[in-house]
Amino acid sequence: MDPLVLGGLVAVFTILVLFSGVSVAIGLLIVSAGFLIVFDGARSLELMPEILFGKLDNFALLAIPMFIIMGSSIASTRAGADLYEALERWLTRVPGGLVISNLGACALFAAMSGSSPATCAAIGKMGIPEMRKRGYPDGVAAGSIAAGGTLGILIPPSVTMIVYGIATESSIGRLFLAGVLPGLLLVGLFMAWSLYSTAKSGNRDLLNVTPYTWREKFEILPRVLPFLLIILGVLYAMYGGIATPSETAAVGALLCLVIAMVIYRLWNPKDLWVVLRDSTRESVMILFIIAAAGVFSYMLSSLFITQSIAEWIGTLDINRWFLMGAINIFLLIAGFFLPPVAVILMAAPILLPVIVTAGFDPIWFAVVLTINMEIGLISPPVGLNLYVINGIAPDIPLKTILLGSLPFVACMVLAIILLCLFPGIATWLPDLVMGAAI
């Protein structure tokens, strides 16, 4: 059978199996096993556990549980609340100060956590009730946190960047740096939209809250120090010659656990177990998808589907920007249904050669891909951040959260367009710090 036709068949069956409600990882194993039996012979099943194990046999994967622990240990303290409170006291004269502080806090928290749900939970737990109390519409309160939380995978450290780095053999340090400016760009766009919508809602009293005294402003600063300590500590370890990026994650995890225990008194074994349980759950979920997607990509490669698709796209004589547009739409749709890690692992091996042949920078593409995945995090049916918000504020209807997130989705699309027009937003910083790309 022609590999391209076979590829279409795989796509159809994958969609059917995943929509049956089976867990994504096991679904990928089922599809892989099915196609391997039919087209490669039953003996190839023997290889599946070996490949599963082999995909996990990679030191760089250590960073995934570590960066998740960083986020979830700090998220279970009142650190997130401190952070956004400090920002609020200082930004009080800025119109819409509270929503701005929440977004700023999300961005800062994202610099400590590699995962989006953790970022969302950390800031949302205090931020959403506070915004609603002050009269912000439910949609703005929930939408801004859902969207702000997605920055967790764009602003370094980032679990998805690690996975992309492994799948495409790109430098993880370089990928992390590439996410910084686009992350700030997104924060800026989110803030601009929040200001505009708050002002437009005509709710003037939201814009002028009682100003805080200087005393109150300075009082809160020491409580933000642990954050700076962690962020600086991790940056120093990573770029200061102490550890490789994967090892740095462990330093960050240890620092966060220690700070949570010492400064925020997270002593109780029960509370500690909650942190470990949540981190283990998220890490194991992600790592199992990575392993299963490894088996899936073995199947695609073994049936020569990966290679044929890349070759086929190469022969199509189409405009490179048209190609990029098509790829973005494909990623967007995939992101609706699949968690980011699964999309990256299944798409990267197929798309990377195409991207490179069309003259795009793989590091730049990682950023575009990540923003696409961020959109998926706040869109049904698999929008991890939506469930986090739903858990924090169960009385806000899902529809309101969705509608509130929609304008932020528009901001992300705008960011992708800006990145296409000015690729330097992604590539300038890594080139500056680490020299021109290989």
Binding site: G21, V22, L45, S283, V284
Partner: protein, 181 residues
Amino acid sequence: MATQPKAVQSRARKNLFVNTVDAISTLAGWCAAAMIVVAVGITCQMIFVRFVLNHSTIWQTEMVIYLVIAATLIGLPYVQKLRGHVNVDLVPLMLPPRLRFGLCVVTLSMSILIITVMLWYGYEFWHFAWDRNWKSDTVWGVRLWIPYLSLPVGLGLLALQLTADLVAVILRIDTPFGLET
């Protein structure tokens, strides 16, 4: 909609088999969490040994890799118990209760089948390494059957937990896909 952790603990499962498997999976979850913590510790120790003491770091990288693999595989049943493995339940949500029940039984049975097949070949792979006394090609030279053991153990426990989930759904102790009716 919904895929992430739901309130699973609240349901009162009243079946000895189901309860026992739940307990085993929880224990496995503790082991997985402990292995991740140990991996953090060893990595920090490695950085200390290299950066502060300027000594060799021979075994740490490999040890950490095996710990994370083992944590993942041994953690599988626990995450299954917590319904932490992401799925797309758009279709199950739209189905009427009887069809939803049927689909749930089918997907769980398929899951058990594929994991059992992998368990079988995983055991075989482990046995190969044991029988031929394979070692890793490093100075540390770990006997590979030790890390490979996490394959049959983790997949075996996952198959067990999936079976318990299937039993729970069939006995109506648990709702299909954990969805509210």
